[in-house]
Amino acid sequence: MATLIKNATIAADNWQRFDPGADGSLPDIPMLGDILVPLALWQATAGGLLARSAGRLGVWLDGDDDPVQIADSLEAFSLIAVNFPLFTDGRGYSIARLLRERYGWKGELRAIGDIQRDQLFYLSRCGFDAFLLNDGQDAPQGDLLRGAQAALAAFSDFTEAYQTSVERPLPLFRRRPALDVAEQS
């Protein structure tokens, strides 16, 4: 199991992720449980997904998906995830900011795919609050937990930042007067 970090602590993951088939075919809609479905499935069968008798609904976007596609239906979801096919593929950072800053998503925003410790800081600044670490499924569970525990330190790699971000909407230069007062007092 990949380890889930949520709100900077290790958490249990009850969500079941569904992917399109290699040929692009869509998975069947499971009737039970908390399910995380690809955008295409949501677009094809929103009604069916909403009519399920039990379990929460989440949707995941890939790097080339446009978040505007779900901007009008955010209330349908309990979770939005963004997939990073490779950790070096940075499109998800922009998608996260758009979801948070432009479309107003307030719920859990989870980074999935190739998620590594050394990207957690920037990911969290762009609005992710949950991270499914790609920490190798073969390692013993104890090692994974220790690795994930150590990874939590990444959230405090830096104590300040110059730019605007989801985490701190005001850039440093707009926060400086308050900082300077705090430093002097």
């Binding site: 950790f87 950072y93 920037y122 605007t164 971000s165």
Partner: protein, 566 residues
């Protein structure tokens, strides 16, 4: 010189700690090579032909004497006693040990320096005019804007994993010395009719394997919007730039595929949401950053110093040097001076630790303790009293830094090439040296006049061969090193990409080939005032081609001889 405040310093210190931990995990085997690579690149660390190469950032080329001494110390302690100043105003060390790099970065941090984002697919060090703040043709001092961009780009959380590297250049003068037309983003600072500062924004320029001149997508961007507009451009690029092929991943390909008009429309559509948001710059912030720059306390001097004019009249060697290596200044009685790192027999841009220490001394004695690195890979003392020039010249001469060749054929721009770089197809340094030896006679050089000769060891074009009046590109031909020669390129306002003359030539043939080009130029120029590039523009490349290759039959013979030799 921009002086860090407590936050600037803390961020750099925290970066050292972060990288120390990453290096520790890599060496312990808990961070894989694949996962370590991007983070080490974003700290300037490449794995090269012989050893790691560390590229240290010199933001917009500005250096304090104490910083140059720190670089000398690093060269001595962790390298082999020298460093290489690059065409992007940075310095590279070719022999550090991986496990020493955290200590090197920690040492840099003590003098407000770092290697942040000097490599990797992120926003790189912003470059500018090496005469920023002192050039007589300057409309807007670009330094404060460069520092604002440095802060905005440092650890920008959204743009650390772009499709490819991203370079921004800023110019504020009438004559562009920052190559804004061949950068991912080129910012030309201007003033509008009411005197307000703004930027003409060019995107999608670049060299590399697909050289392109940038397209203007905004004619006047008022300064408060600088950062939000950059965010908009970068966001469009981050989302839609190609990631399937690294050779098509630069923003220039996206701009070309969309067309500049469509790209502009996409940026504007994004910018609508960001404009006037929190990233909008304030006058207070610009004033604050401006105030953190130390500025020289100039003396009130006459426009022309009498001892200086006397020395010019009495000392021909000095006059030759001053003509090429001293430059006009905004302030009466002052000059900027180029210390040439292009002495024949020394790899272009290389400086020894001893030279660095000595230049730091000169900067303190003659130029308010500051200096600049130019994209032509020379060092510049920007604020020297004219009356000190003769003494400075003598000191520079003793250090081997007074080659009077700025703007001339031997002021060659060259990448480290196949001697060091694992990407190179061919060597650059021995070719540069062979050409410098061929044209060593100073009178001959001066007679040839202004000429930019640039050498790149491969298509990545670190030696800017596309924009050399003469450009030389190392190519691999069935495993042998050959050189493709182009003419007609230019940097600056008249930026143009050179045209390839014909089949590539072997290393031994290069000096003869260049000399034939020069002879053709000298025969064809209408006066000494007509430069090589002017003649190429006037008569085209055909007469040059005929002269160097002869007619079509000779060309074929040449080719078959070459292939036979391979």
């Amino acid at each position: 010189m921009y002086l860090y405040d407590a936050v600037d310093q803390k961020l750099v210190d925290e970066r050292v700690a972060q990288f120390r931990d990453q290096t520790r995990r890599f060496l312990a085997g808990t961070l894989s090579e694949d996962n370590f690579r991007p983070v080490r690149l974003q700290n300037g660390l490449y794995i090269q032909r012989f050893a790691p190469m560390l590229r240290v950032a010199i933001p917009y080329g500005l250096l304090a004497a104490r910083q140059l001494r720190a670089l000398a110390y690093i060269a001595r302690k962790w390298d082999r006693g020298y460093g290489h100043f690059s065409t992007r105003q940075n310095i590279q060390f070719n022999w550090p040990k991986l496990e020493d790099v955290p200590d090197i970065l920690a040492h840099l941090a003590t003098v407000q320096m770092h290697a942040i984002q000097t490599s990797g697919n992120c926003v790189r060090n912003t470059t500018t005019d090496h005469f920023a703040g002192i050039a007589p043709d300057e409309l807007v001092d670009p330094l404060v804007w460069c520092e604002l961009i440095r802060q905005w780009s440092t650890f920008h959380p959204e743009f650390a994993y772009l499709p490819r590297k991203f370079k921004i250049a800023v110019s504020g003068a009438e004559n562009d010395r920052a190559a804004v037309q061949v950068h991912d983003i080129g910012l030309q600072a201007v003033r509008n009719a009411s005197g307000e500062t703004g930027f003409r924004v060019l995107v999608g320029g670049g060299l590399g394997r697909t050289p392109v001149i940038g397209a203007a997508i905004c004619e006047f961007l008022p300064w408060p919007h600088l950062l939000s507009y950059l965010d908009a451009i970068l966001r469009v690029y981050n989302r839609f730039g190609r990631r399937d092929n690294k050779y098509k991943a630069r923003i220039k390909i996206l701009v070309k595929e969309l067309t500049p008009e469509v790209f502009r429309a996409q940026v504007d559509a994004e910018w609508v949401h960001l404009k006037d948001g929190p990233a909008t710059l304030t006058a207070e912030e610009v004033t604050r950053v401006t105030g953190r720059f130390t500025r020289p306390q100039y003396q009130a001097l006459d426009a022309l110093s009498v001892p200086y004019t006397q020395a010019l009249a009495n000392d021909r060697g000095f006059a030759n040097w001053a003509r090429r290596n001293a430059h006009a200044h905004q302030v009466p009685g002052y000059a900027a001076v180029t210390l040439s790192l292009k002495k024949t027999g020394v790899p272009p841009g290389d400086a020894t630790a001893e030279q660095m220490d000595a230049v730091a001394d000169l900067a303190e004695r003659y130029s308010f303790g500051e200096l600049r690195v130019s994209h032509e890979q020379n060092l510049i003392l920007a604020d020297v009293r004219q009356s000190d020039l003769h003494a400075l010249w003598q000191a520079a001469k003793a250090l081997g830094l007074a080659t009077p060749n700025i703007g001339l054929i031997t002021n060659i721009i060259a990448c480290p090439g196949g001697d060091f770089c694992s990407l190179a197809n061919a060597k650059s340094i021995p070719v540069a040296e062979a050409i410098q030896r061929r044209f060593d006679d100073l009178d001959y050089q001066h007679d040839i006049g202004e000429l930019d000769l640039n050498i790149s060891g491969c298509m990545n074009s670190c030696g800017h061969h596309h924009v050399g009046h003469i450009g030389i590109l190392g190519v691999d031909k069935q495993g042998a090193e050959f050189y493709q020669i182009s003419i007609g390129g230019a940097q600056g306002n008249e930026a143009a990409l050179g045209k390839v003359l014909g089949p590539s030539v072997s290393q031994e043939e290069v000096p003869d080939f260049i000399e034939k080009l020069i002879k053709t130029y000298l025969q064809r120029r209408d006066s000494e005032a007509e430069r090589f590039i002017d003649v190429v523009r006037r008569i085209g490349i055909e007469p040059f081609r005929e002269q160097v290759y002869g007619n079509a039959d000779q060309k074929r013979d040449h080719r078959s001889r070459q292939l036979a030799a391979v």
